[in-house]
Each structure stands twice: as C-alpha cells, then as structure tokens.
C-alpha cells in the first residue's frame, strides 16, 4: 500500500503512484458494487464520521454508502442539526467525534484549509470531502477514474474545464490530479471567474468556449452559482448560457468522441442543456456511481491499513 500519510487532504501533494494506487483500488471496489450482495466486511468495527458543514447530497450520500458497503459504522453530522449551530468550533466538534472513537473523519467545510486544520489537531485520519474553493480530491479522483474507464488512459488527453474556475475546488483538484497523470488541462469561463495566475498551475486559459472545445477529449462542465451573477461577476444567466453553456450545437461541432462530464448538481438549461446531459456522450451518472467506488477505496486505504489485501475479496 503506498498511501502512507495519516490523512488524505488533496491531490496537490499526492503523487502519480498514489493516484494510481487509489484508482486501482477503486476498480476492485467497483467490482463489489456490481455483485448481488454489495457489501464486504472489510471495515467491520471501524467508525467513519461524516462531518458536513455545507449542504451536500451526493458527496455525503456517497461517503455514507461507501462506508456501509465496507461494513464500517458510519454517522453523519450536519451543520444545521448539531451543536455547530450553538457556536461549537470545528476543532471541538471534531475532538468530540474523536474521543467517541472514530477512525476516519470525512469533512466538508466552506473554509479552505479546514481539512488540513483538523488533520493537524486530531489523531483520526481526516478525509477531505471539499474545503472551500481549495480542494475536492474525491471528486477529481472519480472524474479521473471515469475518464480512464471510458477512454482507457489519462496521459495525453485534452481535458477542458468550463465555468466558475475561481470558486471551484473541483477545478483545482482536477488540475492537480490530471496534470500528474499526464493529461493536458485547459480552463474556460468568463474572465471574472478565472483566478489570477492560474497559468502557473500549468493550464491553458480560454475565454471563448468554442475555441477551447477544439481538439478536446473531455469537457468537464462546472455548476454556475446564481450568487456569482448577483455579486456582479457576470451580467446575466441568459448571456452565460449563450457564451458558456454546453448545448447540442456545440456538442455536435465537437464531435462524437467528446466525453461530457459534470460534477453535479446541474443547472439544467443553464451551463448544460438537457439534451447534452442526457446524451450518449455524457457520463454524468457514471461519475456518481464511480464516486462510491473511489470513496470506498479511500476509506479502505485510510482505515484498513492493517487489514490485508485479500480481505476485500
């Protein structure tokens, strides 16, 4: 097993070999998910806490399911239904979880660096399920897994990420991960939503979607948040759709081999037309499915370190 760090915080400091390890482990996990009995005893007796400070449907559900498939005891805490609303700090909440005996704390938080902060302060393994605009490694891993499953490789592929790059942890994690696996990454969006000096992360920047789509193998379309328009970062939803929306004309022009992805939740009819989201080129539902496998892989790699490999069979 190559994943040796206590925590899994992001892809910035994960190397290609470790990514490879996670993706391969996920493949074994996906096999489990296709069986009629979709559960293995691997993490029996282990406790996983999902600490979600931000609303989330798929990530939380996915982590829950992943833990359950591995027979871990899993509990989820949301901001609105816990002592967090009484002003308890992130640290105290996590320490409480820790002394109750959790092995892995999965954390989703709106502050960049929150997962790292936790990791430094508790002895349980911390798994980053998204920290502000910084990092969302499991999403990037499931995206990479999906691409590799569909196209057979990552190296040399041209991946385009569309939309609000500035506020996107998905974009950053995808850039780190894909670059390490040898893919070429470009980003496109309104220039107000492209963060400063992102070129230094080794990506090409476009402001014109049609140009950016030329030669792309994969397009990953990000969710556009309505509050960005309200805060003056782009003029209207109508104009956004026209300039940066993925529609069937653009899909047709890009060709049949373009793989269409979206991390969800989608604004159908805004950043992505339904005809595109539901097309044969779309792997959006596949992404969700693979998400469970990726999260199983990471939970196993973090919590099941002392457990032998054979046990997952």
């Amino acid at each position: 097993m190559t994943l040796t760090k206590k925590d899994f915080l992001g892809l910035y400091d994960t190397d290609a070999e470790e990514i490879e390890e996670i993706l391969n482990t996920a493949r074994a996990m996906k096999d489990i998910l296709t069986r009629s009995v979709k559960k293995v005893p691997t993490l029996r007796g282990k406790t996983v806490i999902n600490l979600f400070y931000e609303p989330s449907t798929r990530t939380k559900f996915s982590f829950n399911l992943a833990a359950k498939r591995l027979s871990a005891d899993v509990m989820s805490i949301s901001k609105s239904t816990s002592s967090i609303t009484k002003g308890e700090s992130l640290l105290d909440t996590a320490k409480t979880m820790e002394v109750m005996g959790s092995d892995v704390v999965v954390v989703r938080h709106s502050s960049p660096g929150a997962a790292k902060f936790l990791a430094e302060n508790i002895s349980a393994a911390v798994l980053n399920a998204g920290d502000g605009a910084h990092s969302h490694p499991t999403q990037a891993l499931l995206d990479m897994y999906t691409i590799r499953e569909k196209l057979g490789r990552l190296a040399g592929l041209k991946v385009l990420i569309v939309g609000d790059i500035a506020h996107s942890r998905v974009a950053r994690s995808n850039i780190w991960g894909l670059k390490k696996m040898g893919a070429e990454v470009s980003v496109v969006g309104p220039l107000t939503l492209i963060p400063t000096e992102i070129e230094k992360m080794g990506v090409k920047v476009y402001s014109n979607l049609d140009k950016a789509l030329e030669g792309a193998d994969v397009v990953n379309i990000l969710r556009i948040q309505m509050e960005r328009q309200e805060s003056g970062l782009f003029p209207s939803i109508r104009e956004y759709r026209e300039l940066y929306g993925m529609n069937k004309e653009r899909l047709k022009k890009a060709g049949k081999d373009l793989l269409v992805m979206h991390p969800g939740p989608m604004n159908r009819g805004i950043e992505i037309e339904s005809s595109v989201a539901d097309s044969s080129q779309s792997v959006i539902t596949e992404q969700v499915k693979n998400g469970v496998a990726i999260r199983m892989a990471l939970l196993y790699l973090l919590a099941g370190r002392e457990i032998k490999n054979e046990d997952i069979d």
Binding site: Y12, S89, L90, L91, H109, S111, P112, G113, A114, K116, F117, D131, G132, A133, H134, S135, R169, R172, P195, T196, E197, I198, K200, M201
Partner: protein
Amino acid sequence: MKILIKNGRTVDPKNNLDGKYDILIKDGRIEEIAEEIKIPGLTTDSSIEIINAGGRIITPGLIDMHTHLREPGYEEKETIKTGCEAAAAGGFAAVTAMPNSNPVADNPAVVEHLKLKSTRSAVKVYSVGSITKKSEGKTLAEIGTLAKAGVKALSDDGQPVMNSEIMRRAMEYARAFDLPILSHCEDLNLSGDGVMGEGYYSTLFGLTPIPKASEEVMVARDIILAEMTRIHLHICHMSTEGSLSLVRDARKRGVNVTCEVTPHHLILTDKAVKDYNTDTKVNPPLRSKKDVEALKQALSEGEIDAVATDHAPHTYEDKLGEYDQAAFGISGLETAVSLIYENFIKTGLIGWNELVKLMYVNPARILRLEVEGLKAGSCADITVFNPNNSWTVEKEKLKSKGKNTPFAGFELSGKNEITIVEGKIVYDDRGGKDEILY
C-alpha cells in the same frame, strides 16, 4: 539616581552622533554625552548605575507610530499595560495608539482615559483621534476638540473612509490643526471578503483574494485629495509596488505625503500563508515577492519614511481554526527591531543611522513630536540593542497578550537589551533577565 552608559556605539542622526560615546543620565534627563565620561570614585558610588554597553548600539528610545493597544473595549486582546510592556521589551520608548478601541477615540474622554492610564505604563503613549465619529466614515469627529485633547494625528485605521467627499472635508478641516492624516488605504468593495493577497498563491490555496488595487486606488485617491487640500498625508502600512510608485510620483509633484511599512510586509510574502497559518492573516495582506522586493529596495534607498509595527494583538481563539474566519492582524512590537536588524542592517542594506531615522526621527517628525534625541538636557528615552544576542521567537515568551506572530520559530541574531524611559530602566535583558521594571 544616575545612570552611566559606557562604551557603546551611540547612533543618533538627529544630533549627528555616530561613534563611541558615554551617556550620563540624571533625574530623567541626559546630563552629559561625551567620548569618555570620567567620574571620580565611580566604582564605589552606589548612586550611579553603570551600564557597560560595549558592543551594544545606543539609540534614542524608538517610537512605534502604529500600535493597537486595544483598550478600552478589547482588553482580552491587549491592555495599555501589556501593550506598553511589549513595546518596552521590543525596544520602543513610545507607541502611538490607533483610535479603533471601543468606544472609538473620537472624543476627548477616550483620549483622556488613554493619557491617564499611560502615565502608569512602561512606555509613553501618543494618541491618534478618529477622522469620523465611531470611525463609521459618515460624519466628522470633533477634530478640533481632539486636537485640543492632544492627539498627534487623525486616522480611521481599520475602517477606511470610503466616501471621498467625507475624506476631502476631513482633510480640509484638519488642516487648521496641523494634524497629519494617517490613512489606512483600502477600497472595501475591492477587498470584499478577501483574506489574502491576490496572486498565484491565493489561486493555489483557494482563499478569497484581496487585490493590490484595493490599496492602490485609495492611495491614489488620498494623494489627490491631499494635493487638493494641502495637508500632510501619511500612508499607513504600505504594501505594494504600485502604492510606492504613486507615493514617489506625488512627491515629485511636491505633495506632502509620507509612508510607513511594517516589518512583516518587508520580510514575508504571500507564500507564507501556506499551511493556512492564521498568524499570517493580516490587513493589508502579505503580498507577492515582487512587492516585497520593491519595498525592500525602497527602504534601502531611503524612500520609506518609517517602519511601524501595526501591532495588532489578538487572542488565541481569534486566531484558532479556519483561515477565512480568523482575525486579521500580527503582534509585532517585540520582533520589529530584531527583524529589521536581521534583514536590513546585518545584510548591509541599511545602517543604524537609517534604522533610527525609520523608527525614531521620521515618526517623530510626522507626528510633530517635540523630541530632541540624544543630547545634554533632553529627556532620557534610550534604547540599547545587543547585536550579538541570538534568540528564537517564542510565542509564550511574548509580553504582549497577542501571541499572534508569524515569526514564531525564527532565529534572530540581535535583541533589544535595555529600554530607558525618562531616565528609568523599564526593560532589562542583561544576562537574559527579560524583566519589565517600572
């Protein structure tokens, strides 16, 4: 009680002193400065304390022109007492209290309170009044009354006056009282919810950025308004190359503008935010390497008027946890002189004369303080620095209540050894005593 400081290198550009001089202090005043002061029966005279300052640098008691003492209102962060002790330990004989206490120093009662409490503190405290009532940027504070109460300058530090019309009128009105405006230049719309300097690292760390422009547009605005109203504008904690060039151009036109830079903006870059260390969270934020290099060069070429700490103490809890939710500010009084020594004097970028200009002569000139430096008859405010006393910055050893320093763990080769205020030793670190005495 007399004190005789012997064998040190005395540096005071105000009095054209740089060399080996002995200083005799009596009744709070400097009695004599001479190459060698000989007193018969000195070694047996118990009424004279002798400071052997061989290898030490003796300067006028340094002045910090930008300090947050937090009292009244935020005594959990700092008090006048603890802030002044921190200043004494850091080599300052005086600090300048910014008005953003609670209540704000927008009225003579708060100024009087500060004055009264500081008579019992380790070092001198100069006060700054607010520009607008409650520093809300809406209506002018009673500037004339504040002037009468003894404030040395006006500032809405921390809460920039966003309304240009109010700022214009404040400047115009203040001119009658010969008070400089210390401007915290920040366009709050451009800063938004930002928490660190905009650039590659803010992109990498996913933290909401504060653009350089948020400082620069206000530096430009305030220069234009100062030019129009013919007042003395002082730019606080200048942090970007662009601001520097605006100040440079304004000076060429003859605008009365001065500027200060903090040690942290001269030494740390935005890269230090790595690992989300909340002690690096400060406003203005740490900037890019290019900005830091430009400021360093400007400092070594004499274009910066003052080095000020912007000492902004916070509690442990204020800085605990998520980066974007932590308080802005760095506790700076106890590291400033050692940091400037380490990074500028030791490296040969500036000499001791320049340090004294940056941390004594110019702050005094900007604030119109009636100080005379090291000469016979003047008030005995003196700092004795030991350039060969290496130490490691440790949070828990700070006298300030604010342990929020990004320099924790830094090894520095020189340290303030003695601070004398009005002829009395208020800080003594001889033999590593690290004692506050007053």
